[in-house]
Symmetry: C2
Subunit: 258 residues, 2 copies
């Protein structure tokens, strides 16, 4: 019996793990250079990045400060800058996905700084792979992670290092998919995220009605952006960090669920 | 119309706010010296503290390190020390509530160090009031906060600065009670906590079956402790920090729900 139990625990410990980290501040407690990290900033940085690559952007350069983005702009690059939900003065692009749905961005390299998303990418940069997740590419991300069979950390960008609901719901979706495949978890935030996703899944928009960031964006008249960012599988691409640049991952993607 | 809106926002902003902070690490992002802070470490530090005061302990001295607790012990105090769920060698008490259910503790001053709880008390020490919450004193805590009508921060001790479920469920209970009275929130973690509490409320024990800390304690054969710590209103007292000591708050408490 003991031997069986030993075998069973061994089998268990061979399963890859999924964890959820609610804020970039907490990431050092999770960091594991062997894990794949998914950076999540649903409203709206990672949704915008997915949309940009789906519309043919060639590279994106995440930078921490508006000043760095301006420097790229002065050197002839396209540049995008968002702070507190609004495009920073002097920039053509912010983090509205709709800003990236045109031919002007095709083939371009774009420098990008946002309130939360780019900081989360910076926090995760030493991971085995840093990929960009949002509802817009949810199933290609989940399928990729499942095929990899490696430990996964879902890193929510949150809002200025506080927990937020929309990133947590997306993390919950990925936890569900991974746990339904051969993943396990011993992480309470993963259990919380999947429980919340289960409740919210049939009406993400309604569930977020009282959330802090939806209210922040509501004041800025961005309801259309929010609805789009909560729509599954609109942009079946996987942006991935290579050195200091985001590029489109070169994988054979089968569009699922669209 | 604009004037009405202004009036309305003003009215709203007069209501006290409740926020939930999931870990001591994140507390500086919430800290507000005008707020009342409830420190929560359901399994088991704050449950043990409530039990201790209910059984006549006179004072508790939360200390950060085992060495400090030993120093108090050498000076003739009773001392309690827990690390990773177990009593530290050389101590009579840890953070099992059952350790405090006897006459030996009556009238005593006890130095206490635990893995997470005492660190959370330390993080909160500059708040207007730091009170100790657990399911064991849930309604006297909620009623006290409602009577105070001041901003509230519910500080979960978590596990080594990671989010945990049991503290979140208790925070969710308090959020529910406060929001049903004249409190408001713009805090996503408060919304998440109350949603999770709503799902779990009829079977807290079952809901926590897969949680990391319940599994940690299960290995240590502490199921009886867990069941007790999840039982409402067993110890209607409010421990409060006064200087460096915890004492029993001198309030006229009506036992609710027992």
């Amino acid at each position: 019996m003991k031997q069986f139990f030993y075998f069973y625990s061994n089998l268990n410990s061979c399963m890859p793990k999924v964890e959820v980290c609610f804020t970039p501040q907490a990431f050092p407690l999770f960091a594991n250079e062997e894990a794949n990290v998914v950076v999540i900033d649903v409203l709206r940085a990672t949704s915008a990045i997915c949309t940009a690559f789906y519309n043919g952007v060639s590279k994106m350069i995440p930078v921490a400060t508006v000043e760095e983005a301006r420097e790229y702009q002065r050197n002839g690059f396209m540049a995008a800058a968002e702070r507190n939900g609004e495009i920073v003065e002097g920039f053509e692009l912010g983090n509205s996905p709709f800003g990236y749905m045109n031919n002007k961005v095709k083939g371009k390299t774009i420098a990008l700084t946002t309130t939360n998303g780019t900081q989360a990418i910076e926090a995760a940069k030493n991971a085995r792979k840093v990929i960009i997740g949002s509802f817009l590419n949810q199933d290609v991300v989940a399928d990729y992670l499942i095929a990899q069979q490696r430990n996964v950390i879902l890193l929510c960008a949150g809002w200025k290092n506080k927990f937020n609901l929309e990133d947590t719901l997306f993390a919950g979706y990925i936890v569900e998919k991974l746990m339904a495949s051969a993943y396990e978890t011993d992480c309470d935030s993963a259990l919380a995220a999947s429980t919340l996703y289960n409740i919210a899944q049939h009406d993400l928009y309604g569930f977020l009605a009282n959330s802090s960031h939806r209210n922040r964006l509501k004041k800025l008249d961005l309801e259309r952006d929010i609805r789009y960012c909560l729509t599954p599988n609109q942009t079946p691409v996987i942006p991935v960090l290579e050195g200091k640049h985001l590029v489109k991952m070169n994988v054979n993607i089968q569009v699922v669920g669209k």
